[in-house]
């Protein structure tokens, strides 16, 4: 962030707006820190697949090319990490989860997102619908790098960033809410940054 003093008076209104966009307990950053919970998987796009599996075991799989043939969106969103940094106006490119979930018949209310490398995270299915979650493969005009979850990651910017599973490989739709990789060791099941849902019991 530029210090406010360096902004011309005309930009003060925008600076205030940014403050309003900062959830409690967060600080803004221009960098994009990389947090890792294991070695970075290097997944080639020609072997990449994304599979949605319902609670009855029905599944649908997209290859990289099939995913790229779906309607693409340019996405601008603020992101918030549970380690207290927030980053405004991040630019992504990808496909809305509404597109992947459109023809999926399910009575499930929860999702376990799975990743290459073994990471998992759990979310309510409703949080992946309604134009607020994507599979993204581009960041800032370039292909998403492996460090940031490439070739493709989940992006659910209204929840803490650990919910936006890097190296996403699929979604498993479930009737029960099953804790994922961090949720099972004390992190919050839902993770709303505006309610500071960092830990179990917050």
């Amino acid at each position: 962030m530029r210090p406010v003093g360096s902004l011309s008076p005309g930009f003060r209104g925008r600076a205030r707006t940014l403050t309003d966009r900062l959830p409690p307990g967060q600080y803004p950053t221009e960098s994009f820190p990389v947090l890792s919970a294991g070695p970075t998987p290097h997944v080639a796009t020609d072997g990449w697949t994304f599979t949605v599996t319902t609670e009855t075991g029905d599944s649908r799989t997209w290859t990289w090319q099939q995913m790229m043939d779906l309607p693409q969106e340019d996405i601008v969103q603020d992101i918030h990490c549970v380690t207290r940094w927030s980053k405004f106006d991040t630019h992504w490119r990808g496909v809305s989860l509404d597109v992947f979930l459109e023809d999926v018949e399910t009575a499930a209310t929860y999702v376990k997102a799975t990743s290459y490398g073994g990471y998992t995270t759990n979310l309510p299915l409703a949080d992946l619908r309604g134009g607020k979650a994507w599979i993204v493969h581009g960041y800032d005009g370039f292909a998403l790098s492996p460090e940031h979850g490439g070739p493709a990651r989940l992006l659910v910017p209204h929840l803490y960033l650990w919910k936006s599973a890097k190296w996403v490989s699929g979604l498993r739709l479930t009737r029960e809410d099953e804790p994922g990789f961090w949720e099972s060791v004390g992190y919050h099941n839902y993770g709303d940054p505006w309610r500071e849902q960092r830990n179990w019991g917050d």
């Binding site: 990389v34 070695p39 380690t83 073994g118 650990w162």
Partner: protein, 90 residues
Amino acid sequence: MTDDLTHMDGNCLAGPLSEILAVEPTAAWWRCPQCGRSGTLAQLHVYGPEPGMTAVCPGCAYIALRLVKEEDHVWLALGSGTSAVRFRTA
């Protein structure tokens, strides 16, 4: 996993584990259920410390343990499953 330079070695588990274990924890022996390799916790590759510490097998990256420190608690999960134990440290 030798091409990955972002991890720490398992000796960094000594502090947080000794808060909840009375023995010297990083000398403890561990066997990987996935590739069969064995060694001490000190030989694991550790990622983190934020949002938590993840110790993985140096041979195949199987998840050996996860450790999350909170203000008054340490959470510990052995293995890759969802079963974890929360210790009070304060």
